[in-house]
Amino acid sequence: MSMIEAILLILGGVTALIGTIGCFKFKDFLSRTHAVSVVDTFSTLLIILSLIIHNGFTLLSVKLFLILIFLYITGSTAIHVLTQAFLKYSKKEIIK
Amino acid sequence: MLYVLNMTLFLIGLFIIVRESNLIKKVIGLNIFQSSVFIFYILISKVEGGVPPIISADQSIYSNPLPHVLILTAIVVSIATTSLALALIIRIKDKYGTIEEDDIDLG
């Protein structure tokens, strides 16, 4: 394992940890989702980039790249839907 | 020691089944109970230094595939039985108006 891969992997782990701490620290729902979504996007990019460099230019790297695209599409959509649901139902108190 | 943690999980599942009166939580307790049994099977199938049981030319030690097959089918059967239990819960709610075991009036 080369130096670059290790640095990328550690950076990815640290950013994911920061996002999780933010999810627990913030008081407001919207700032919590903001912390999680922004940091999540960056940490997945770093971790998968490190794995792609580790594997070189093979079929496995292409699969990892497809996983990255899929995670970007579904993750951002999930956060969007959560926020929409919060804006719609926050006054009605659906979950007590 | 791993087995002791696993058995703690087993007993927590049994505890939920025995004590809770809400039927949905009982079903979730049953799921936890089943999961602990699955983990026990997979734990004893691990072989040190082994790889997943897909035959390749440059490997000679593989983990034991037989428990994997048994648990693979057991997981899918467990979701089928869980859905049957949930259907029965909806029927009980329809008939008695509650899903708390203590409040069901059979009379």
Binding site: - | L2, L11, L72, I75, V76, A80
Partner: protein, 176 residues
């Protein structure tokens, strides 16, 4: 390293199941069950069972959550507290845990259980799967080939469960 990770993950499972005992809100109980299934999938992956891990991730986190959430549309979302006392059950279970722990010391350490792998059937499956069937994945060849009769029974169980759900819910109004 793997063993240390397994300890952490099993402790996470125990914490989640204690949360299931404490919480009264069925919605959060169901979401924590989803997390439980994902951690289970991670444990299976660490223990070399990749097929089982894939199944648990698809079934436990996908279909199971949808079915539970479909069910709590029809029932109250808050569970009432039980009147049963927990003390005798907890004492009984502690005794049971101690006795099981004593018995467990006879089992081999995880990973060193050559006892299981030495069985004749497993050896036969691993040695002959590629030459007899041309299938490198031993789990598939055992599932559909060597133990095909077993799998037939499992498929029929799933089929009957589907029919039974249909039969039960056909006469139900489903009042919310």
């Amino acid at each position: 390293m793997t063993i240390a990770l397994l300890y952490i993950l099993l402790s996470v499972l125990i914490v989640i199941s204690i949360y299931v005992i404490i919480s009264r809100n069925l919605f959060s109980v169901i979401i924590s069950t989803t997390i439980f299934s994902m951690v289970c999938a991670l444990i299976f992956l660490l223990l070399d069972a990749i097929d089982v891990s894939l199944t648990e991730a698809a079934v436990g986190a996908g279909i199971s959550t949808i079915l539970f959430l479909s069910t709590i549309r029809y029932v109250d979302i808050i569970a009432t507290d039980t009147k049963k006392s927990a003390v005798p059950i907890v004492i009984l279970f502690f005794l049971l845990l101690i006795s099981i722990s004593i018995l467990i010391y006879d089992l081999p350490e995880p990973g060193k259980a050559n006892v299981v792998n030495n069985s004749q059937a497993t050896k036969y499956y691993i040695n002959n799967s590629t030459t007899e069937m041309g299938v490198p994945n031993v789990v598939t060849s055992v599932l559909a080939g060597y133990r095909g009769f077993d799998t037939l029974g499992e498929v029929i169980v799933i089929f009957i469960a589907g029919i039974s759900v249909l039969g039960i819910l056909r006469n139900t109004k489903g009042r919310t």
